[in-house]
């Protein structure tokens, strides 16, 4: 672990990206305590403050550093709360998709035969189908809400994990030590849990980081289209969508700042994921 960190430290861009991710996660965790306003408490909103540019001092007496939106919400507070929801959805979807995908992938690699053929056929079919379309359909069928959205995101993403786990597990299955373990009276599930699963984890973690970023982007896209979370829990996508209508009249900050927050988060997670992948990849090792 220490050696891993030492190598990681050599790439300063990746270090900055990691710092950004940590700061955003902390800000999201502490959102209720560090933001000047609770953006969902309608009583604290004042329409007199609506659509004011960044730096405006509102009726509550503090500075709106990033301006306010159409309801007079402090945009900085709304963005931090939005990041909180986006991260929640991304991490929840990523973890569920990873669990389901890894289970299916390892199971099919271990079971072989028709189980393998059936599962991997479905997975391949799904990989050729764009994730956004599948998520769109599921949201349309299931309706709106947090858990429905997570289900849609998981369904759209588990296939990537299944493919990755399957690839890693089949490679592992053919190694001598696994065959040796099979020769002992150990039960099959124990070999899978103790030997195959740990060796599948590194690639899964890499795919996992990237897929969390993808889930956040996908959630933002769905929310932007008005098909994501209900308006009572605005994620970044919805903040951007709300600001979109004011963009033509020059009030660009309502959309632009939530968008920048979203991009910074996604790009930072991707850079961290790339660095981890490079370090796990033995071919790139010096």
């Amino acid at each position: 672990m220490r050696a891993f960190w030492r190598e990681y430290r050599e790439n300063w861009i990746a270090v900055v990206a990691l710092a950004v991710v940590v700061v955003i996660v902390l800000a999201a965790l502490l959102a209720p305590w560090i933001t000047p306003q609770n953006p969902y408490d309608l009583a604290s909103l004042d329409l007199m403050d609506a659509r004011k540019p960044p730096g405006f001092v509102g009726s509550e007496g503090y500075v709106h550093w990033l301006g306010t939106d159409a309801q007079g919400r402090d945009l900085l507070s709304a963005i931090i709360h939005g990041l909180r929801i986006s991260l929640q959805m991304g991490i929840a979807a990523g973890l569920f998709a990873m669990t389901i995908g890894a289970t299916l992938g390892i199971l099919s690699a271990h079971a072989g035969g028709w189980v393998e053929a059936a599962i991997m056929r479905v997975v391949d079919l799904q990989l050729s189908f764009p994730a956004i379309l599948l998520a769109l359909v599921l949201v349309a069928v299931l309706g709106q809400g947090k858990s429905q959205l997570v289900i849609a995101l998981v369904a759209a993403q588990y296939a990537y994990f299944a493919r990755t786990a399957y690839g890693a597990a089949t490679a592992e299955r053919q190694k001598d030590y696994v065959e040796a373990a099979h020769a002992t009276p150990l039960p099959g599930w124990r070999i899978v849990l103790r030997h195959i699963l740990p060796n599948c984890l590194p690639p899964l973690i890499v795919v996992g980081t990237v897929q969390v970023a993808n889930a956040i982007a996908l959630e933002a896209t769905l929310s932007f289209l008005g098909l994501g979370l209900p308006p009572t829990e605005p994620s970044l996508g919805m903040l951007i969508a709300n600001g979109f209508q004011y963009m033509m009249s020059g009030r660009t900050w309502i959309s632009v700042y939530p968008g920048i927050a979203l991009i910074v988060l996604i790009v930072a997670i991707n850079i961290v994921g790339d660095q981890i992948r490079d370090q796990f990849n033995p071919r790139l090792r010096r």
């Binding site: 079919l125 050729s128 189908f129 764009p130 956004i132 379309l133 769109l136 359909v137 949201v139 349309a140 069928v141 970023a213 982007a217 933002a220 896209t221 932007f224 289209l225 008005g226 098909l227 996508g237 951007i240 979109f244 963009m247 033509m248 020059g250 660009t252 959309s255 632009v256 968008g259 979203l262 991009i263 996604i266 790009v267 991707n270």
Partner: protein, 325 residues
Amino acid sequence: MLGFIIQRLLQAGLVMLAMSALVFIGVYAIGNPIDVLISPDATQDIRAAAIKSMGLDLPLWQQYLAFLGRLLSGDFGRSFVFGTPVIDLVLARLPATLELALASVLIGAFIGIPLGIYAGYKPESPIARGIMAVSVLGFSVPTFWVGLILILFFAVHLDWLPAGNRGPTAEFLGVQWSFLTKEGLTFLILPALNLSLFKLAMMIRLARAGTREVMLTDTVKFARAAGLSEMTILRRHVLRLISIPLVTVFGLEFGSTLAFAVVTETIFSWPGVGKLIIESITSLDRPVMVAYLVLVAFLFVTINLVVDLSYALLDPRLRRGGRGA
């Protein structure tokens, strides 16, 4: 070869069958089918009569067969919102989407491939690094956000291009097209650019990886020894060698372009099928949803089939009846 074609045709048919079953279960069986097929304003008597006449009292598998039969004859029912046959609605909107998708795929190919070849030819140059940075952004930044920035910059800030809608069209082969009028073309640029970003990034990566590999082969060494100019080598040898994977991805990407058009069309209020599906989801217009899903699935399967078959034509190893990957 014939065996290969038959095998792929069977596979495509099977996939379509599975997709139609999924759509049937998703939209008809999970949702209340009565709400799907009968307008909510209908009276009790009309409802009862409709349930009987549409066979909704029959067992599920019989309903599915009837559903399949209607699909095959092109009958998707009537839209609740517009009151017109769904198939007409979708077909009327399809040219706009096809045009947008085609334009964006072309942008991706004609800009992405040269940039990718350059980045693979001189991987250490600062320009190549810049190209790669752009392609990373193209992969990770969500389409809708890029669309917003494009509108903000080119339509609001610079006021060069229109921010949305389709603009004037001209008729060709009985269908309205934007690219035939000069003004229509200006409406097409921003959405097409927005939609092409992902493809652009992908083409750059593929072309770069292919070029780097081909540049190390003997083909290039001999071509250089024969005194061909670098430009000729890139055009005649490198481009030809990297074209097979590019063609595959090109074809496959066309399908996903149609899907991503949903986002782009919403931002630029482009009147295509993508905008139609979003409208139908928000207004719970289920017949339109079914028609769109079946149509997209059909397009996907067809594209996959065509790509597979053209791959077989391009690659002599597959032509001799070898097993397809």
